[in-house]
Each structure stands twice: as C-alpha cells, then as structure tokens.
Symmetry: C2
Subunit: 428 residues, 2 copies
C-alpha cells in the first residue's frame, strides 16, 4: 500500500507523526494533504533516507542540490565531496551523472547521501545509445523502462519523467523562433528520440506501467518540464504552458492511482512573472508540490547565477513553490566544483527562508527575531552562533583582528545605538 | 539657477540632452520630470562627476556603494582601492568614514572617484564631539551646519539629512518594544543629540537654511530614514511610516524651492512587503526618487547579506525604486574589505538589472536576449564576453581546463540541444 493509499484510509502512521512534529502541522492535516497529493514524502521502500524530507503545502520550503559527473569531468571523489556538502546544506540530492560508470557512481552517491536521491533516467539511456552507436536515439522503450526499474531498485526516491512532452509540442518548439528551443537536456533527448524513431514519447505510451513501477517502490514521479524557458524572452510562451497543461492531466492520473507526484517548473523567467507562474501551476494541477529550477530572473548573470536565481527562488517560495532546485556559480559555464556547490546551496537556503517568512510567518521568523534580538543587544557571540553559517560569519567578524570594543569594526568605539539608548534612559 | 529651476523654464540643456541619450528617454520627458523632481541628476556645481548619473522615473536603476574608515580600521589605501572598484561597478559612492582625518579622507576619495559622492554629515559632528568630550551631543547647530557647508564646498553631491525624525518620534521609538529601536547610525546620533540637549532636530529647525545651502551648490538632499527597520519584525510599524509622512512633507517643500531631493528607505523588510513599500513611498512623496537600502528579506543571512538583500533590492527595483544601496558580505559583522565591496556591488548590479527588465522591458532585455542567442548557438566566446563579468566567467568556464568540445563540461561530448536540433532538421 502506498503512502497516499495509507493516508486515504485515515491511518496516522509513525511517518505522519514525525512529519507533524518536524513541521509543526497537525497529524490530521498532514494525513489529509498526503491523501490529496498536496504533501509528499520523498522515499523509496528499498532505502528510507536518513533525513525525513516531506514537501508541500504548509511545510517549509526545501532545496535540491544537483551533482554528478559529465563526459569531460569524471571525478568520483569530488562528487562524493559534493554529497557531504549536500548532507550539510540540502534537503534532496539529484545525481545527474552522464560520464563514467553511471550505475556505479549512482550507487556510491546513494550510499553516502543522507538525503532522498533523484535521477533523470533518460540520461542513462541516451548515453548508452551514444556509446553504442554515436547517436542518442538507439534505445528501445523496454531499455528505457528497465533503466527506470534498475534505478528504483537502487533506492532512487524520485525521478524526472518528461511525460508532459508530446511529439507534436516537441516538433513545434524545435521549429519555433524561441531563442533557445529546448534548453532541457532530458527534454532534448526525448524530443530527438521521438523524431528519430517516428514515435510518441515513450513515457506517455508506457505511462500506466510507469505508475505501477513507482507504486511498487513508493517512489515519486517528478514530471519534467522539457519545454521550460532557457531565456527570459521565452518565458510563459505557448510551449511552456502547453506542456504544463499536459503535465497537469498526468498529475491527476498519478494521484488517483496512489502515486506521489510533483511538477518541475521554470528556468529563465522575468521577476514579475515568477509569482503568478506558481499560482497558475497550483491552479492547473490541483495543488501538488511544485519543484522549481531557480527561476533565473536575468540571462546575463553567470558566473553569479546562484545569486541571480536566488532572487527568483525566494519569490517563487513566497508564492507557494515547495522545492527549489539550486543553481551554482558555474551554471551556464561548467560542471561545478565542490565549493561552488556549497555557494549555490547557501544562496538557496537563504531564498527558501525568505519565502518561508512569508508562507509560514512567525513560526519560521522566530529564528530571525532571535538573531535580531542579540544583534540589538550587541551580544556578538550569541548572534553569530545563530546565523545561517556561524563559522564563516565569525571569520568575517574577525577579519581585521578580534574587535576590542563591544561594537563592531563598522562603527568602532562609537556605537551610536548604545549611546542613543543611554540618552533616552536618562530622561526615564 | 538650480537644475530644477532651469527645467521649469523649459530649457533643454546639454545635460538634459546627455541624459536623454544615455537613457533613451526623450529630452522633453527628462526636462519635465526634472522640473517635477521625479528625475534628478546627482552633482555639485563645485565638482561635476566624471560619470553622468541621472536617477529616477523611467531611467535604469542605479546602485550605491558605501565605503569609508571606522575608528578601528583606518586604511586609506584600502578605501582608495574600494573607490576603484566603485568606479568599475557603481553609480554613486558614499563615504561613511568615521575614523582618521575625516576631511582629508573625504577629499582623497572625492578626488579618485568618477562617481557623485555622498556623505552623512552628522557622523563628523558626532565623532568630533566624542573626541572633544567623550559624548556625541556636544556640537552646536552651527557646527553641524558648517560641516554640511564644508562638505558641499569639497564637492559632495548628496548628503543624508535626517530631517524627517522629530524629537517626539525618536523618543517614542527608543522607548518602544521594537527589536532594535533605532538601527540607523545617523538616526541614533540625531536622536541622542535631541534628547541630551532638550531640543528639536537641528535639521528641522534649520531646514530653510539647509535648502539655501543645497541650492547654492545644486546638490541633492537625501532625506534619511532614521527609523528604518533593523529587523524584519520591526518593518512597517508606526515609527517607520510616521517618519515617512514627515519626510514626504519636506520633499514637497524642497521641490517647491528648486532643491533636488530623494528619500531613503528600507533595511529589514519581509519579501511580501517590499513592493508595496515602494508604492506607498511614491504615493506619499509625489514620486521623487527612492533610495533603498537592500531591503534585507531575512535577518539571519550574514555573512551572505549581499545575497539576502539582493532579493529585496531586485523586487524593490521592479516596483519602482530608483537607487539601490548595496550591502556587502561583511554587513552586520565588520567593515568590508575591498573584495567584499566588489561582491556586494556585483550582487546589486544583478538586482538592478532584474528590476529593470520589469521596469523598462525590451530596452534593457536586449542584453539578455543577445547572451541567450549566443548561448543557444553554443558560441561560447561571444556569450562569455557579453556577460556581467566576462573575466570571472571565463575563469569558471575553464576551471577544469579549456573544454575540448563545442558543448560545455556540463554535458561534455553529448550536447542534447545540438543533437535534438539535428533530428528536427532531418524531418524538414
């Protein structure tokens, strides 16, 4: 019985109790929302993740970290270092490896990860095909499905399944005057496969079988956005929205079949279109969790796209996005190194918290109030130890030497804040 | 005759023509908006800045960079290094020095700056007082005004004048249950002075004289926000808005007297209150330029407050803020070093551009469209040279060695984007 089915029978499981405690939402609300598909718990019956990661309505915003090799840069140690960083900063982890022994790398990453691990199974099918015959379309539907199953067996908790992309939409997008027709890697792979083989999307033709597979492992389908905008100029055109409509139909089918599902969104979106993008998705899909890449609100920000996209991510979170897929400073330029993974993760923790202050109010703002309280009292040690990154904060605090005044090196000996308070105390 | 008065007489000056060309707004629109106080040109008749910096309605969002010594860290070379960085990345520069020979430092900074330079004159009065008598309130109104005049003579183009703060508001704020009663340094100085001396705000009692002074130099009054929120919990309370109402009254008086004026705003503000903060200010003041610090949308982000505040800054810019005052990674912890000044400046260039895409549309998005065009074509050199920071971008692009494929190290040899386009070309 899947988690959705259990919830529908009204059972308050231990998992639901744990979610309730973690997120400070009543068990009954959690149960009801799981039953409706509005809250999901990323997991795989083969391998419960060490960290409990519930995602969805009324819960804190979570962040996803992408790692993985490329054909050019295959360095397992570096990837495992990124896993460590993800364990510290992240909520979910995706292994997007396309270089080296993909099965082996995935298993090692899953082994070291405390977080639910996700993948994009078409990558493996495409790479295998390329290695065999120098072309990406030489894999059968059965081969693709068996890769999905193998990855589920390994304990993958969620997978990007580009089932919203129809052959007709793909061809029209590729022939369109979009600045970047299909920026999604998996989207291009499925599109190219359909065109080359003259067939419909294998995820669509095998949809019922996919539902059975995911139900068996109680894993989550993350419906991919093959036609997401890769340039702000392409945002919210007929292709992006056309695919979203197809995706929304599949969402309802998955939920009806007791399979957990979320929807992937954005990419490059101007700032003023971010909030209503979230509202539109929630309306069309009936409110299942939204998993948003960025959004990036400009196209020119590399190598600072972790900053440029944390702007969009914070707005998306405040508007109701549930899981934010981070970008690193290497986005658009290179595979990230471990330090860049950490920089991206921190920017997204900030974005998620900014959104949560709006979404969840005082329950999460307590943290800020505490920091500001100690800040106002100039209690530096207590203030610093409660910051998002106390270790780095302390380094900056002491960068010109340990301050020898109660104030900071900004105002030095003359803290006007302390002084003004002294003045007002005198007048009682 | 001040720039506002010239504009009111209908004169299209060479300056107006230059602004028109720079910002692609018709000369007549520029003239009309200057006459109404909706566009201003930061300058000082004693010292025209090398860079033309018009600010306001229909123009690109500008960014301000704060530098300056503290009593603890006095390193003129470092400050002049920050001036160089500001010349590269910034639009306006504020010298907030409180340590060392303040006059001397200011003159050197102005000498090396290509940008209009601003100051907060009460700092100097306060520090002088402290040095003389270990207390911040031992300066006369005349001493304060003579500091203002001296700084104007040195060529300062704009000054923070905390004239919106009444004695009554200051006392109530200091006695309130705000998490941080008065976080503004200048605000605390004026508040403490008023309480200690039992007098009204010297900027208020000498307002007419101040207008004459600023008119003489055709410099700009930046009305300070002494009661800005220093914690998200304090945002938009009666103190912040009470001061804004006082400030808005002074705005109208300044404009009527032909003196350029802008209004300073925010600090710590939750994400969902940023956009309407800008709308409220514009409504109350009749639409003069808004100069916004951050806003910071969380309190816990140090040492990454350049990121946390670029979120608020981008939203503010999109909503109509005209000049964004940057924060560095050292905010709340230390005086920034030169590298941190650069990191802050870049985050704010990103925020300003994100806002401008919304405010000004295709006129500024052309830049993004071009980058995305080359990105889609995988023309790496052309793409990289058009990014916000080509030098750093190139370093990241080659961080695992010069890529030896047309694609990037992310996908390596298998570029799905190129491959899918090849497939669709085959079917014509």
């Amino acid at each position: 019985m899947s988690i959705i089915e259990e919830a529908r029978r009204g059972i308050i499981t231990d998992e639901i109790k744990s979610i309730s405690k973690l997120e400070k939402v009543s068990p009954e609300k959690v149960r009801k929302r799981i039953a409706e598909g509005k809250i999901m718990l990323l997991r795989n019956v083969k391998r419960p993740s060490k960290k409990l990661v519930p995602i969805g309505k009324g819960l804190t915003t979570k962040i996803n970290i992408n790692i993985g090799t490329s054909s050019e840069v295959i360095d397992l140690d570096m990837e495992l270092e990124k896993v460590k960083i993800s364990n510290k900063w992240g909520d979910t982890l995706m292994d997007l490896s396309t270089g080296g022994d993909i099965d082996e790398i995935r298993r090692k990453i899953i082994d070291k990860s405390d977080l639910p691990v996700g993948t994009v199974p078409v990558y493996q099918a495409f790479i295998q095909s390329f290695k065999k015959k120098s072309g990406g379309a030489y894999f059968s539907e059965d081969e693709l499905l068996s890769i999905v199953e193998r990855q589920l067996k390994d304990g993958v908790a969620f997978m990007t399944i580009h089932a919203g992309l129809t052959r007709e939409l793909a061809i029209r997008a590729l022939k369109s005057d979009r600045v970047i027709p299909i920026v999604s890697r998996g989207g291009d792979m499925i599109a190219g496969w359909m065109i080359h083989n003259g067939k419909e999307n294998p995820y669509r033709t095998n949809w019922k079988y996919l539902l059975e597979l995911f139900k068996e492992y109680d894993a989550t389908i993350s419906l991919g956005d093959a036609l997401r905008p890769g340039a702000t100029a392409d945002a919210h055109d007929e292709f992006q929205i056309g695919e979203l409509i197809e995706t929304a139909r599949l969402v309802k089918d998955a939920i009806n079949n007791g399979v957990q599902v979320m929807v992937e969104g954005p990419g490059h979106v101007p700032l003023n279109e971010v909030a209503w993008d979230v509202k539109l998705m929630k309306k069309l899909t009936g409110g299942v969790p939204y998993y948003v890449l960025g959004p990036l609100v400009i196209d020119v920000g590399a190598p600072y796209d972790h900053i440029a996209s944390s702007i969009g991510a914070a707005i998306a979170s405040a508007a109701g996005a549930d899981l934010l897929c981070y970008l690193t400073p290497a986005e658009h330029l290179s595979l990230p190194n471990a330090k860049q993974v950490e920089e991206g993760a921190i920017a997204y923790r900030i974005a998620a918290h900014a959104g949560d202050i709006v979404k969840l109010g005082k329950k999460v703002r307590k943290w800020d109030d505490e920091v500001s309280y100690y800040r106002g009292k100039l209690e530096w040690d207590k203030m610093i130890e409660k910051l998002i990154d106390p270790e780095q904060a302390y380094k900056v605090y002491t960068q010109f030497g340990e301050p020898n005044v109660k104030a900071c090196t900004m105002c030095g000996g003359y803290c006007p804040m302390m002084w003004a308070m002294e003045q007002v105390k005198k007048i009682g």
